[in-house]
């Protein structure tokens, strides 16, 4: 006969309540693991959907996500010529914050070349961008309708398609436009602003002495060119030809073109280690604290329930019950409480994770590890109770 289960059956209410309480705690621990995994998944979401082999960025930067990187667009043609490169696609990234329905609304805008890679990974409604201008594909999380218009920079853009769960490394939902549009949005200012800039810089230059009139005229023209140029991108993503050697291609790009060529793997490392490390430590610390709290709570519950059962334990000893009968009564209750709390915590996350503002990813390895930890905690937590129980004298069963 299993005494642990009989006792629980008899004291159902109390047991369920404590298990729910513990379940909430374990649910929080679980969600923290899920948040961490979610952070990684978010951080890598654009990286993974781009399916690049090499990320070419501005020299000496960890771009384009962890640091800003600016490179001229025409570099793409030179990179495409590097032996071993199958495809070199320009991409531009920018974070946009606009007012929408009276609220400020942030998203991550990706500009891609229609004929190259780096566009939306999957269209779940509508279609991909077809025209060179004024079309936008938004991710589902932006909650926009197909046909809806959104004003970015100087123009209105029409939502033509919805893509799945794409977010930037900081968790903002992603949207896609053509590279030309992205550059427009990023760099094209109103004509008046441009004219002002040009005049202002031109006037400054004209004041400089030591230039011949011809030189200063040339300078003025070039300045006009600079202030108007929009042909800047953040990265060129490279796909290698079959059989090409990654390191050799990286080395070529580095040496010939003076850019940094980051492999996809290194990029993932930069994103995870550089950007998430702190969050990971923070969450890790919280989880440890919560697990310690759980351990203390379970110990207290098991200890007090042992104290409540002193007479029962004394009676069992008196009628000759073996120590294992008494130890398993306490240990099994502790483990059962852990199991039920774990299930409650898990159910809680399953019911609510859609509602978390950031992605929660529950990995089965994490769940198994947490389950093992909870079981270990329950075993350790029952030590005090078991020690107490083993010291109970059978004579304590006597008397009124």
């Amino acid at each position: 006969m299993n005494l642990a289960i009989r006792d629980i059956r008899y004291n159902k209410g109390r047991f369920i309540l404590t298990s729910i309480g513990l379940g909430l705690l374990i649910g929080v621990v679980m969600s923290m693991g899920g948040i961490y995994r979610g952070l990684i998944a978010d951080a890598l979401s654009i990286l993974n959907s781009t399916k690049a082999d090499i990320w070419v960025v501005q020299q000496d930067t960890n771009g384009p996500f962890a640091e800003s990187s600016r490179i001229p667009e025409d570099i793409r043609y030179r990179i495409a010529l590097v032996p071993g490169v199958a495809q070199a696609s320009p991409l531009s990234f920018q974070t946009i914050q606009i007012e929408r329905m009276g609220k400020s609304f942030r998203f991550f805008l990706i500009g891609f070349d229609l004929s190259e890679s780096g566009g939306p990974p999957a269209i779940i409604a509508g279609r991909n961008i077809r025209q060179k201008h004024y079309e936008i594909v938004v991710s589902k999380a932006m909650k926009m309708e197909i046909g809806e218009q959104i004003r970015l920079g100087l123009h209105n853009y029409t939502v033509v398609g919805i893509t799945g769960k794409m977010v930037s490394s900081s968790g903002d939902p992603a949207a896609y436009v053509t590279l030309a549009d992205a550059q427009d949005i990023q760099f094209k200012k109103e004509n008046n602003a441009i004219r002002n800039d040009r005049e202002r810089i031109g006037a400054k230059v004209a004041e400089l002495t030591g230039y011949s009139p011809a030189q200063s005229k040339l300078l003025k023209q070039n300045i006009a060119g600079i202030t108007e140029t929009t042909h800047t991108i953040n990265t060129v993503v490279v796909r290698l030809a079959p059989g090409a050697n990654l390191q050799a291609v990286q080395e070529r790009i580095r040496r010939w073109n003076h850019f940094r060529a980051i492999s996809d793997e290194e990029q993932a490392e930069i994103l995870v280690e550089g950007m998430i490390e702190k969050a990971r430590m923070q969450l890790g610390l919280f989880r440890i604290i919560l697990l310690v709290i759980s351990a203390v709570i379970i110990s207290l519950i098991i200890y007090t329930s042992t104290i409540d059962k002193i007479r029962v334990i004394a009676t069992l000893k008196l009628i000759g019950a073996q120590n294992r009968v008494i130890v398993s009564l306490i240990l099994q209750q502790s483990l059962l409480m852990g199991i039920i709390a774990f299930v409650i915590g898990y159910a809680l996350i399953l019911l609510t994770y859609e509602k978390f503002p950031r992605r929660i990813v529950l990995e089965s390895f994490d769940l198994q590890a947490l389950f093992a930890i909870v079981m270990v905690i329950c075993s350790i937590a029952s030590f005090a109770g078991i020690r107490k129980a083993l010291r109970v004298e059978p004579a304590e069963a006597l008397g009124g």
């Binding site: 005494l3 069992l316 000893k317 009628i319 073996q322 004579a395 069963a397």
Partner: protein, 234 residues
Amino acid sequence: MYAIEVERLTKIYGRGVTAVAAISDATFQIKPGELVAILGPSGSGKTTLLTAIGLINEPTHGKVVIDGATVADEGWLPGLNLKRLRREKIGFIFQAHNLIPFLTALENVMIALEINQLTRREAKGRAIELLTSLNLGHRLNNYPTALSGGEAQRVSIARALANKPKVILADEPTAALDTENGKNAMILLKKLAVENHSAILVVTHDHRMVEGFDRIFEVRDGKIISEKRNGVAK
């Protein structure tokens, strides 16, 4: 062979100046199937005597032999498995019925059998049989809180008898019952002692309850001061 033999049994609580001899120099033998009462006022050492025989209170001096096996001689004999001896040879009944609150009447009896290596099925069969013979067939699935005092005491009698022990020790088994129920419980014990051929040692301070016992010891201040046989002074 005797079921219980006690020779110059002495139990001293505490040390030095605070030492109290709760029972001193008790000597007697009880045969299997004999029904013996220990009568005495509160604090006279009855419980001490019973628990020393019951292997839960180590005697300071003297000898205790249960069912032919010496268990104490100037303290426990070394190497004894007291728990095993208790569950195989001794049944306990107390004033407060001491049933396990989270087990039903049936389970309270079954547990005593299961810890004594009976299978669940055997235990259940024997427990039902026993409880039914004690008129508790309709109470099998009730928890102790739902039982009357008399019913609870009968369940604990069933538990004490479950393993057919050679020795049954009862400490004030009727104290929590009214006279009617108390007398019935005693009649039951007598009947069972005869049926099971167990020695039954009952402690009580209520002389009305000892009617029909084979022998009655009277204790005062830790000493047996008289012994009556079938109501006749020895």
